[in-house]
Symmetry: C3
Subunit: 202 residues, 3 copies
């Protein structure tokens, strides 16, 4: 399998797993089938959509509507099987891999357009986490990504590693792999050891 | 009256009725005049605005600011007469007609730009329903469109009928009328017989 | 100091003060460091970002990422010192000045692009207030700007004064100063005498 095909395949998996998270959240809020599918779309494609709007690039799924089908499929699976999906532990790791992947692909898109570090890191973080934020805002619950856990920070870290490596003489593929691994390791460590960011003393 | 003039007229009515729904929601949340007008804007122009941003088209009201005046007028009417507006039953049917109209105009815009079925259906649905979703998110209540009733589904159905007919040798006007009628009939049936989409077993 | 430099300086201060408001809101909602910085970004750059997306202009901070650093700095300050920041009364006046400034710069951007009164006023108001609205929506609290106080109205008023003066033979700088003063005076009066917009009788 070529690298490009592998990436495409991984991107599809990440989209599907992110969609599951939105679908499950919708089921928990007693939404109907349309609501479940809508909430599946938000984490699956929301981050990349905002990235493209901000960068004034064509929204990625306009030229690749299969993504929408995969997001909808994630919603349907959550609709018929929310509880087993929610209890299926390996999904946390698939979610972590999706986070790491989207952080690096988002950063790479800004990098290719010639932007400097701040925009590259911001776009990596937005691509990986903004969809989940939208999911929580629309479900009218407090956004978890803003309160708990090392999640967005892992995306930011992966984007930073990618950016640093892309300055080095390493190939793009290695920079990509390094950023992905960085985000995944930090997120994984946060899952295993329940790391959290500091909170202010109230 | 020419077809174009009729459509323009219907679009104005739809905008006004959608604005009323936002204004009434704002009054119910004890908002002030600015809040009522802001919440009138969201359902009135929010869906079409998002559609245009996603399609990278100029936002429709930039070239037609009358729409903004009509939305503001809907807000003012809701401000001074929220309870009679809310109790005025025929408004449900005007809202259904607005939903059907925006579903078809949104779908037609994507169709004209050359997009295929998934984008056409998505844009029809977004144009018709996303503004109402924004209204509920900003009013900090759970989005009704995601929980109850056949509403967004009627928009999706109308967009589908339009898309199917636009492949046939029928004229654009007939495809338009068919999509409009399809959405209106399904929404009307849902109002009369209180149809809802299935919900997951919790 | 030239006028341009003064404006740039004022813009930086306004961004920082708006960021503080978001950061403090996040601390009050028990968010972690990432959440505090995210909520600092929303009021600091959210309004101008939406304005640029709607006008199909390049998002302003893409070419000026220092803005992002200033917004992040506001978040960090709120994180370590939310209570003193919140109790520091002069900040209300800095916030009022930020509101007045963003109203005029937002209006001026639309004006320069050749738009008429409705769009100029709308963009002034959006630039000045939409970020605060986003802050409240993401923090899952009812948007204060829609309920209390003369706030958005002051932005609208400043944009109107600017627009009127820009039609007169006065220089752009004077139109700018007039709009700024108008918004600041109205907002200041609302702070001192606790003015509010009318609310509907429920």
């Amino acid at each position: 399998m070529s690298l490009e095909l592998l990436l495409l395949f991984a991107d599809r998996i990440g989209t599907f797993v992110f969609a599951l998270s939105g679908g499950v959240a919708a089921v928990r809020r007693d939404m109907d089938l349309f609501g479940v599918i809508t909430l599946a779309f938000l984490p699956a494609v929301g981050g990349g959509t905002l990235r493209d709007l901000l960068l004034d690039e064509p929204v990625f799924w306009l030229a690749d509507p299969w993504v929408l089908g995969i997001a909808a499929a994630g919603g349907v699976v959550a609709f018929v099987a929310a509880t087993p999906v929610d209890n299926f532990k390996p999904l946390r790791w698939a979610d972590a891999a999706g986070l790491a992947l989207f952080a690096v692909t988002g950063a790479a898109k800004a990098q290719e357009l010639g932007y400097g570090m701040p925009i590259v890191l911001l776009m990596g973080t937005i691509t990986a986490t903004f969809g989940g934020l939208l999911r929580d805002v629309v479900a009218n619950r407090e956004p978890l990504v803003l309160k708990e856990d090392i999640y967005a920070t892992a995306a930011l870290f992966g984007a930073l590693i990618y950016w640093l490596l892309s300055l080095s003489p390493l190939t793009e593929a290695l920079a990509f792999a390094g950023g992905f691994a960085g985000a995944l390791l930090l997120r994984g460590a946060a899952i295993v050891w329940k790391w959290s960011l500091p909170k202010p003393r109230a």
